[in-house]
């Protein structure tokens, strides 16, 4: 952690309030995000208990699985979820603009420009915390290989029609969220703690209630007090006042409230199944509705505080102005969304269980590139981020004290002006190191030509190398002038593309050779415990 971030945390302790960790917002926020607050059942992998979901903060949809081990109820939950999420995704799939993309021509193998559709906006999904991201991936994995009756009439437990499709989309969103700087799927605790430093540790920042308590404590209370209350305070019945943001529930809730309610529900249901006369069945049906109502109320009582907290967190984030490169990164998210839309339209099969060697390597390389891009762009967009880079010797800011015109050698001499900069920073500059500054949004390169005097004096000479136009004289404004404040970075602003990897069919022998004809992934086996 940078000392600057450390200081922010310590000041938060001293002042009782979170301190800025960023001065602009580094993630895109949609005008109409879909918020998803899920709960799961302890001990079962990815078994949903319920969720609040929707785009209207005042009218979330409550989905509940009264008996989480009942396959039919689980499918009903997923079908309902699909009915809410898929229309939201579809709402962005239609409106497109034309954009240019460089593709490899399949016939000539040459790189050519092609015109393609790009969705003008992409749907954003927000979950409360990192554990929510994992659940989105898990739900995607559990759904995408399911078979519907339409796909496979013989399948023993057919999934509702749109469930596999939702699985593919959630898988895509889950994968995309691993790309640094992406905003299709956000975990609110991650985004909030990117922008504010609290007086607690990063582990504790994963608790949405405690995190918000530090960022925006209630009147008359310190962040520490409010966070402690959010984390631990319980009512007389031993229940947490601020339920965990899920998807895991508090064991005390499971044991004291949920388990008895599910037991009552099961009892009535069993009785109903064996009810012998109509009036008795009628009574039991009423009782069943009541028992189900009770579970619904319990689930709502644990999700609603988190739902409200998520929207409050989004409000807080909107108070920050958007960073300069955020939109550019969001465009990459739109490309990602459009590409997945196209794969589905083209009838491609669902994402495989495991990536093949080439796909894995391509994804890793892409993410490393995006990580470098994100780090550079956040620094350029935000003086507080740049301050940390300056402290680390990876950038320096200062004042131009002298400019001497010079030219390159050769037949057609080009301008190579020498610029003297005085700085208080201590950049780690090697001999002839390249440094960059942002000039009208583009990176201008300079070469470190040496110190004037001792390195500790902080006077260094740079040779400007490019972006000065084609003429003998540099274009106006392309060379810093005496008295200008400048900021140079030792890191590049743009990322170079990596080497092209072979096509998956050309996987070399070192990595297992060509994978052969793709076989459709088989759905997960059905086990008896899924069925009550």
């Amino acid at each position: 952690m940078s000392l600057i971030a450390t200081l922010a945390r310590l000041e938060a302790v001293a002042t009782g309030r979170a301190q800025p960790a960023a001065t602009v917002r580094h993630r895109h926020l949609s005008d109409r995000p879909l918020v998803f607050v899920p709960l799961t059942t302890a001990g079962e992998t990815g078994a949903p208990l319920g969720a609040l979901v929707g785009t209207d903060r005042d009218a979330p949809r409550l989905l509940v699985v009264p008996q989480p081990r009942d396959r039919d109820q689980r499918f009903a939950f997923l079908a309902e979820l699909a009915d809410i999420v898929l229309p939201h995704l579809d709402s962005c799939a239609e409106a497109v603009e034309t954009a240019e993309r460089t593709d490899t021509d399949p016939e000539t193998g040459k790189r050519v420009k092609v015109e393609v559709d790009l969705c003008v906006d992409a749907p954003q999904i927000v979950v409360p915390s990192r554990a929510g991201l994992d659940l989105v991936r898990l739900l995607g994995r559990s759904m995408r290989f399911r078979r519907t009756a339409e796909q496979e009439p013989e399948t023993p437990y057919p999934a509702p029609p749109r469930v596999p499709l939702l699985g593919r989309w959630l898988t895509h969103y889950g994968e995309r969220s691993r790309v640094p700087g992406s905003s299709l799927l956000l975990a609110l605790t991650d985004v909030l703690s990117r922008h504010w430093a609290t007086g607690q540790s990063m582990v504790e920042d994963q608790h949405l209630g405690a995190l918000l308590a530090w960022i925006d404590p209630p009147e008359g209370e310190s962040g520490a007090e409010a966070a402690a209350r959010a984390e631990r305070a319980r009512d007389a019945a031993g229940q947490l006042l601020c339920p965990p943001a899920g998807p895991a529930t508090d064991p005390a809730f499971d044991n004291k409230l949920l388990a008895p309610a599910i037991e009552r529900y099961d009892r009535v249901r069993t009785a109903l199944a064996t009810a012998e006369d109509a009036p008795r069945a009628e009574d039991l049906l009423t009782a069943l509705t009541a028992a189900e109502r009770e579970i619904r109320d319990l689930v709502e009582s644990r999700t609603r505080p988190t739902w409200d907290a998520v929207w409050r967190g989004l409000d807080l984030l909107r108070t920050l102005p958007e960073g300069g490169h955020v939109e550019e990164r969001w465009t990459r998210d739109r490309w990602s969304f459009t590409a997945h839309r196209d794969r589905i339209t083209a009838g491609e099969p669902p994402q495989p269980r495991r990536d093949d060697a080439v796909t894995a390597a391509n994804k890793l390389a892409g993410r490393e590139r995006e990580q470098a891009r994100l780090e550079a762009q956040e620094a350029l967009d935000d003086p507080l981020v740049m301050a940390a880079r300056r402290l680390a010797g990876e950038a320096f800011a200062g004042e131009v004290t002298e400019v001497v015109m010079a030219y390159s050698e050769g037949r057609r001499p080009s301008p190579r002006p020498l610029v003297t900069v005085r700085t208080e920073d201590r950049p780690h500059l090697g001999e002839r190191a390249k440094v960059y500054r942002s000039l009208n949004g583009r990176a201008q390169t300079a070469e470190f030509a040496g110190y004037e005097g001792a390195p500790e004096d902080g006077v260094l000479v740079l040779r400007i190398m490019d972006k000065m136009g084609r003429g003998k004289e540099p274009e106006a404004g392309s060379v810093p002038e005496k008295g200008d404040a400048v900021c140079f970075t030792l890191f590049e602003h743009e990322q170079r593309g990596g080497a092209k990897l072979p096509d998956p069919e050309q996987t070399p022998w070192t990595h297992g050779g060509p994978p052969g004809e793709p076989v459709p992934e088989i759905p997960d086996a059905v086990t008896e415990e899924d069925v009550l």
Binding site: L7, A42, G43, A252, N255, A259, V526, T527
Partner: protein, 327 residues
Amino acid sequence: MDKAALAGALGAPSDYGQSQFALIRGNTFEARVKADGGAELLRLTHTLLDPAAEPPAGAAVPDLSAPGPEGRTARTALALREAVTAGGWTLLDHPMLALDVAGSPAFLEPDAVVVHPDGGWTVVEIKSFPMLDGSADPAKVGAAARQAAVYVLALEAVAARLSPPPAVRHEVLLVCPKDFSNLATARAVDVRAQRAVTARQLARLTRVETIAEELPEGTCFDPERPAGELTAAVDAVPATYAPECLSSCELAFHCRERSRAADAVTRLGRPLRAELGSLGTVQEVLSAARGESGDPADPVVAALRRAAALRAEALAEAADREAVPCP
């Protein structure tokens, strides 16, 4: 020592209860894996760890019940010896092992130990977290491997008393639910590294005795004692709180309070201390950063002041920018 009960009595209960749903599911899974004389478990052991051996049919499952932990330990040792002599496959369901920890025996109960036809022993760990598409939560697998390594060491002590000593295999069998189902799947986990670490930790654990010696006479951790007395007792034990403790120790909330009261910077995370040198409290760091204390020649103090200046400069720049209305 029941640390959870102690934490409750101190007024800082942990949230360490377990959900009964998880408990029931875990027990059901273990029962299923061990059903039919452990047929599935033995099949997995054979396939994954010892495919060259004869297939396990009609393996012995000796009765290990005996009075008290010492009795069960002795019974287990006897069963192990008999299994080696008998040859063939044997499954020991919940055996009891003893391990010397700083001079006193600790009793351990692995989920199962399998004796192979060649006389070798394998530790079996049954966990309720899933293996999804062949991979599992690395933190949980790591914890299981460390736990299994302790059993391996305890088994090695038993084996050393036999002649010739049977081999205790350093690959243990980790059994988990497969994907979203409750069917069993398993992987061999190499615990050599964890075994070496645990062996060294045990060798160094004499420090527990040293800690006990340093405590004031009459120190007692009985949760029935009054809270004030208990707090004093617990506080007499040196402990280094860090946020990671929250996920692994029942007393973490109590230690965190102590850490807060002491104004210690480590409560904000261990990495944070890395660049703070000998400055250990929030006040010390902030006052050094503000130039109110500390020697400017000390590189820590110099770096802090530089950081504080850069931070102030950046925040001022941002404030200026906001003051200008957007064009």
